[in-house]
Symmetry: C2
Subunit: 255 residues, 2 copies
DNA sequence: CGACTTACGAATGGATACAATATGGCGAGA
DNA sequence: TCTCGCCATATTGTATCCATTCGTAAGTCG
């Protein structure tokens, strides 16, 4: 079959994947080479057309190429992807399960809208989850986990635009979650970012001049607390960290 | 996650989905009449065939009619439902998105397995979330919310078997989550129950003689704290409530 | 002149047909 | 007897086709 392009293999987020080994920070093949170690053989990434369509449509949505609220015509997508409508529909259905698109019978699929109030709802979930996650991470993190966390901070410092900054920041939080050893926590937390479509709302946030530097500083403090096994401190720092983001958005909502 | 649209119906509540009207005869009788009857599947005879197929397959999995790990043959399901494979596939893909079934390309769909360690991973998420949820509920609950919470406790007391008890107990926790006013919290929490396939593992838990009564008593105490606006107390009681469940399963895991 | 009706076109939902892949049995050879 | 390789069959994956519904806009009546 048309194996046109190398695909992004295991989805980072979404669904409830059973195993988490091979933790991959982002879809960049670069970086961590020998970390796998455990099993020399990795299962083959089967490239079904559905999977490819899923990846591509997802990327279109996440990069903002298709705006929130916009219609996702099945024929149009199928033609552009060079496939038939059937796999497109299944890919869309899968995206709907993740909340990236909405579906109404006989009305087709649309890119999910997201407003400030929804961002705040998600942040509230993070505020409930992440302090405890940080505590667990401090109690359980292995050396590999700590290295992975540091790597995301390094990426954050190297980031050159809002999108990279956002991705690295998100991956920091997911790396902390991974340190709990509970893959379901990672999946649940990752779901809170899924709907931040297009990273556009975030662009406004990161536009605030001092934000990025402050974010990184807070991340470093949290990482240090985790590395030092200081569960109470990590919990408290993470709570303040997420709460400040929530406050920031709340202020924006009023304006 | 769950947004409106009929593709994402309520499905959080205990009972069966509401009966749908609009009986529109399918234009294809497709006579393999006597072949069915193996499973309690009734042919679908309404619009939105995917949704209905989803409901029925989901019910089969949740009630344990199809055991975890068992294969979900597309043709078999399609024939028993009296529809074609296309909507069946889409329903299965949607169930895969929720983690109820697993999908491997060219290998078909299977009912997801779940073991004690997975139940514990889910409980750990609940342990992170629910204390804070209880606090928020105490701060925000309206009279309607309180009534809904009480209703689930009443159902719990009326329950006559393990399945009813389990459903009512789950609905208590979801009703508390609903009192936070954040629907995403409800969805996130609900996802933690989704994979408790067949309520079978739970049957063993509820088999413990004093369990049900103790559960109800704890629920009542939590509800009282929420109704009284005692956020600290509600949080603490909920933490102990969930923690005891986690301890219980941990003990089981050792045995 | 405006609101309602009604046809037409386009796109979705579902069914069927075809292609590709895996599963299981059988036989040959070590 | 066990293992490997091959073939038949069953099942999944994808494409194509038909029926139905929705959106739109022209057309008609008040």
């Amino acid at each position: 079959m048309a194996r046109d392009s190398d695909i992004t293999p295991p989805r980072l987020v979404g669904g409830h994947p059973p195993a988490d080994a091979a933790a991959k920070p982002t879809r960049r093949p670069a970086g961590l080479a020998g970390a796998a170690a455990a099993r020399p053989l990795r299962p083959i990434e089967s490239s079904s057309v559905v999977g490819l369509a899923y990846e591509q449509i997802r990327e279109l949505i996440l990069t903002g190429a298709i705006a929130p609220g916009e219609r996702l015509g099945q024929v149009e997508l199928a033609e552009q992807l060079g496939i038939s409508r059937t796999p497109v529909r299944e890919a869309l259905r899968r995206l709907a399960g993740e909340g990236l698109v909405t579906a109404r019978t006989n009305h087709g699929f649309r890119v999910a809208e997201i407003g400030i109030e929804e961002v705040m709802r998600r942040l509230e979930i993070r505020l409930l989850l992440e302090p405890g996650v940080a505590r667990l991470a401090a109690e359980r993190a292995t050396a590999d986990h700590l290295a992975a966390i540091d790597a995301t901070i390094a990426r954050e410092e190297r980031a050159r635009d809002a999108a990279e900054t956002h991705d690295a920041s998100r991956d920091f939080h997911l790396a902390v979650a991974r340190a709990t050893g509970n893959p379901d926590i990672v999946a649940t937390l990752a779901a809170q970012w899924i709907v931040e479509i297009g990273r556009r709302l975030l662009a406004r946030r990161t536009a605030r001049p001092d934000w990025q530097g402050r974010d990184i500083a807070e991340h470093k403090a949290i990482a240090a607390a985790i590395a030092g096994g200081q569960g109470d401190l990590a919990e408290q720092l993470m709570r303040e960290h997420v709460a400040s983001a929530l406050d920031h958005w709340a202020a924006k909502a009023d304006a």
